[in-house]
């Protein structure tokens, strides 16, 4: 994407919350629903003398992710303390990997809407604990530590994306990978996955990097794309009018579709990182990596490729259908019941995903089961209902979760293909419209459509359109 000879350079830091049962450094549960400060203990509240103890499952998840992102794994990664004061940071420091992260130098391959493939580099992925949450109420703030010490994997991409659409595609791909390997829910709205985007601009053809601006608070794919688009344009405008772009963090205001500067901190940060003496070097045996590698499930892109070769659907469709593991499973379970893989894909891509999106539902919550969708496709293919009727049946299935056959029965929606029955209707329509028949016969061909419509109406929409057409042609 180019504006006035400028291209944008985007790199993204994704914080993925690992869905372990307990926190990173203490045994508190990670359940989402809990009373205020209920999921806490002296450790995640930073009380005197208590100590962090590393959760083994986090190591498994980090290795799994590292493998899925084609990273190099460090079998001796190190935690450090990042020191700063904030009420939701109970110890006055965050335990985070700094100089020696567990994963580095990997990549994610993404497929863009135009079918282009692109490789996005992963610079590193490191483990860190989350902070608590403060809410602001004018002259005071309230702090809840339920989220304190939740395990996060921060995945840092290279500055490899050149358009807001690529950025969104990357975050989507990353999310589907994390969901496929079952390490993260990937819910942007609930914050179990957060994407901070760094964007800078440069003249087309330049190779250096401009001053980057960090965008935070982007809790949907749409906002990622919109905020980056706004920011790209803002930076180009600034550059065109000779302003300097300052390095800063900006937040996205979704109502105004604008980014705005976060109040700049009084003094520059000096986090005083140093190795965390309470947590020993994170070590593991090669055998653990081998075991995890062996159990690694098929990843989204591989699944998409399989869909293309096995079911003959277009690659882009396959990429959309592998956005999440649940969706891929839905698709596969639907096509187990019908041969028309392409039709199922079309129904999912055009109708089902739109409805789910509008209703803010996940595929797991779909009122139409994969079996039901497959059945509906079969009914169309068998000529039982027309494509047009299928849309009505689909709408009814969405509303009621009923089987398509039941809906067809209840509404008497069966398609009529029987020639005798249709001929009878045609004769009735002819008899009722002598004037139009006369005009048609005298050469007004356009009236053919009128007769199709009248016959359809008379059949309550159930006439099989192709049979009807054929008969009308012969009998007018």
């Amino acid at each position: 994407m180019i504006i006035h000879d400028f291209e944008c350079v985007i790199g993204i830091e994704v914080h993925a919350q690992l869905k372990t049962k307990t926190k990173l450094f203490c045994s508190c549960p990670t359940t989402f629903e809990a009373g205020d400060n209920e999921n806490t203990c002296p450790v995640c509240m930073g009380m005197p003398g208590v100590l962090p103890v590393f959760n083994k499952e986090v190591l498994n998840f980090a290795i799994k992710t590292g493998l899925a992102l084609n990273c190099e794994l460090d079998s001796a990664s190190v935690f450090a303390r990042k020191n700063y004061f904030y009420p939701d940071l109970p110890k006055g420091y965050q335990i985070s990997q700094y100089e020696k992260p567990i994963c580095k130098e990997g990549y994610v391959d993404i497929v863009l809407a135009d079918g282009e493939h692109k490789r996005i580099r992963i610079e590193r992925a490191h483990l860190e604990e989350d902070a608590g949450k403060s809410t602001h109420h004018g002259n005071y703030s309230l702090v809840n530590y339920n989220r304190s010490s939740m395990p996060l994997l921060e995945i840092v991409s290279g500055p490899d994306m050149r358009s807001p659409a690529e950025a969104a595609a990357y975050v989507k791909s990353l999310r589907s990978i994390l969901q496929f390997i079952e390490v993260c829910d990937g819910n942007l709205e609930e914050g179990s996955m957060r994407a901070d985007c760094n964007i800078s601009i440069r003249k087309q053809g330049d190779t250096g990097l401009g001053t980057k601006v960090e965008l935070k608070n982007l809790n949907s794919f749409r906002f990622i794309e919109k905020a980056l688009t706004f920011e790209f344009e803002r930076q180009v405008d600034a550059a065109m009018s000779g302003e300097t772009i300052i390095q800063e963090t900006r937040l996205y205001d979704k109502d105004k579709n604008k980014t705005y500067s976060m109040r700049s901190k009084e003094d520059a940060h000096d986090y005083r990182y140093f190795p965390e003496p309470d947590v020993l070097t994170l070590t593991f045996e090669e055998a653990l990596v081998d075991k995890i590698k062996k159990d690694l499930p098929e990843l989204p892109l591989a699944t998409a490729k399989r869909f293309v070769s096995d079911y003959g659907i277009p690659e882009y469709d396959a990429v959309v259908l592998t956005q999440s593991k649940a969706l891929a499973l839905y698709y596969e379970s639907a096509i187990a019941d019908t041969k028309n893989a392409k039709a199922v894909s079309n129904w999912i891509m055009t109708e089902l995903l739109r409805e789910l999106n509008d209703a803010k539902k996940s595929i797991e919550e779909s009122p139409i089961s994969a079996k039901q969708l497959a059945k509906m496709v079969e009914l169309v293919d068998a000529g039982t209902i027309s494509g047009k009727m299928a849309k009505d049946v689909f709408a009814e299935m969405w509303k009621t979760s009923k089987d398509p056959e039941q809906i067809i029965d209840e509404k008497g929606m069966k398609q009529v293909s029987d020639e005798d029955a249709l001929l009878k209707i045609i004769e009735e329509v002819k008899a009722a419209n002598p004037k139009q028949l006369e005009e048609f016969k005298s050469g007004k061909d356009k009236l053919f459509g009128f007769f199709v419509g009248q016959c359809m109406k008379a059949s309550k929409g159930q006439a099989n359109p192709s049979v009807l057409n054929k008969l009308l042609k012969a009998n007018l």
Partner: protein, 483 residues
């Protein structure tokens, strides 16, 4: 049985066999503690439940229940160790009102073994000091001479053990905080190997150096206490998965044992009185069949510089949590968040603590990290290598604990650097992660105690007890009590 000189095992046996009740033991020590408290200020908080807990133990014994190896033993615990539902201050105003909802592992293990917390010992604020003059709760006086310091930072624990306010005390040692006051007060003080004893629930000063350990009148008691408090704790990643041997079964012979004398410890700074007491111990150990070998710790000269960078860097971070948000002191003058932090911490921390936070913040800050913190971590390795090399030749080391006996109250407090230099012989043990022990070995002409220091390889505390016992038996000062 004379409770003033009885060893812990004797008291426990008597309690278990109903010769004396735990309640009577507690009464004896509580009475002594109250007497000496007025003179020494060794205790910050007495445990109001102590007598009730002793009675409960008696009831259990009466019912024939199994009791632990420290049944009925009153213990004074440094007020750096959290005690569930009993105020824990770290000697600081900032924790003046803090009542932990949890106990440190050390306290839990002591209690499970039947010990009863008599009180919480005074200390230098956050264990930062070598004279017990930085406590918010007033300085502790040396029971042997009230004009002298008891040493620090475990000064309250040392004074309590010396004055027999309890037969067992627990201290912590980051750069000598158990061994130096033990030496100043005529008690045995052990700093275990880093990782031998869990740090869970002990207010952190410098995480990579801190280690809790027992202080008592007799080697046997210290060995027994280590058996109880030592061993892997799932709540502390830095506690080692090492078997805890039966330390109280002390090997009697020292014949053939090779003891190293690190020559850098016997330099010009050493006072003649301390030197002669070390020599006396060496002579006696020789007569018992030990062999002495000269060794070198060439990087000893860097130990103070290295220690103060590492300890204060870690401390500056460890003490960030005292911010007036979740517990402890909160400034009333706090309308903004910045005020809350800056005023709470300015009001809550004493001068020495602030000084160390400043030094540590500085050495970690941008532009100075490499020259200070990182450099110190490298020198630390060199220093440890010196020790490991020495241990290729010898089984353990013998050295002085301090250059001289206890100094006077107020004498050094105004000059921080001079105070820091006191720790020259003790800090390297912590930097190298080794176990070290101060054993009472004699008295100065002014009647002040002087100990000698033994240092062993990682996890070889048994050698400290083996050699310490010979010194204890031959120097014959363990039964002496201040009047």
């Amino acid at each position: 049985m004379n409770l003033e000189t009885a060893k812990i095992s004797e008291i426990v046996n008597s309690v278990q066999s109903n010769k004396i009740s735990a309640a009577e033991v507690m009464q004896f020590f509580l009475q002594r503690a109250r007497q000496w408290q007025d003179k020494t200020n060794a205790i910050i908080t007495f445990n109001p439940e102590a007598e009730a807990q002793a009675a409960k133990l008696d009831a259990a014994i009466a019912k024939g229940e199994q009791v632990g190896p420290l049944a009925g033993i009153p213990v004074v615990v440094k007020d750096l160790l959290c005690t569930k539902n009993l105020k824990t201050t770290a000697g600081s105003k900032i924790l003046d009102n803090f009542v932990p909802p949890y106990s440190s592992t050390v306290v839990e293990r002591l209690e499970n073994a039947g010990a009863i917390v008599l009180g919480k010992a005074n200390l230098d604020e956050f264990a930062m000091g070598s004279s017990n003059e930085t406590s918010y709760y007033g300085n502790v006086k040396n029971p042997w001479s009230l004009e002298h310091v008891p040493g620090g930072s475990s000064g309250g624990s040392a004074a309590a053990a010396a004055a027999r306010m309890a037969p067992l005390a627990i201290g912590t040692d980051t750069g000598g905080s158990i061994r130096q006051p033990a030496s100043f007060c005529n008690v045995v003080g052990l700093k275990p190997t880093y990782g031998r004893v869990s740090r869970y629930g002990i207010v952190a000063y410098a995480s990579s150096l801190d280690q809790a350990g027992p202080m008592a009148n007799y080697i046997e008691d210290v060995a027994l206490a280590l058996e109880v408090i030592g061993g892997k704790d799932p709540r502390d990643m830095t506690s080692a998965n090492q078997a805890v041997p039966q330390f109280s079964n002390i090997q009697k012979e020292v014949k053939g044992l090779k003891i190293g004398l690190p020559k850098e410890y016997f330099g010009e700074a050493l006072s003649s009185e301390v030197r002669s007491i070390c020599e006396e111990s060496i002579a006696k150990l020789k007569s018992a069949g030990a062999e002495f070998v000269d060794v070198e710790i060439p990087h000893l000269d860097y130990t103070i510089a290295t220690y103060y960078i590492i300890a204060t860097s870690e401390a500056s971070s460890n003490l960030a949590r005292y911010d007036g948000v979740r517990y402890g002191h909160r400034s009333e003058d706090a309308k903004t968040l910045e005020d809350l932090y800056c005023n709470t911490r300015a009001e809550g921390f004493g001068e020495e603590v602030k000084r160390r936070i400043m030094l540590g913040t500085y050495s970690l800050s941008s532009g100075y990290y490499d020259a200070y913190y990182l450099k110190a971590c490298k020198v630390r390795r060199l220093l440890q290598n010196d020790f490991l090399k020495a241990f290729e030749k010898v089984d353990l080391l013998l050295s002085p604990v301090t250059t001289s006996a206890a100094f006077k109250v107020g004498e050094r407090i105004s000059d921080p650097l001079e105070m820091y230099l006191n720790d020259i012989y003790t800090t390297s043990t912590n930097l190298a992660g080794l176990p070290g022990m101060s054993v009472p070995a004699g008295f100065s002409s002014a009647g002040l105690p002087i100990g000698v220091q033994l240092t062993a390889p990682h996890f070889a505390e048994d050698r400290l007890f083996q050699v310490g016992k010979v010194i204890q038996d031959m120097q014959n000062v363990a039964d002496r009590r201040p009047q």
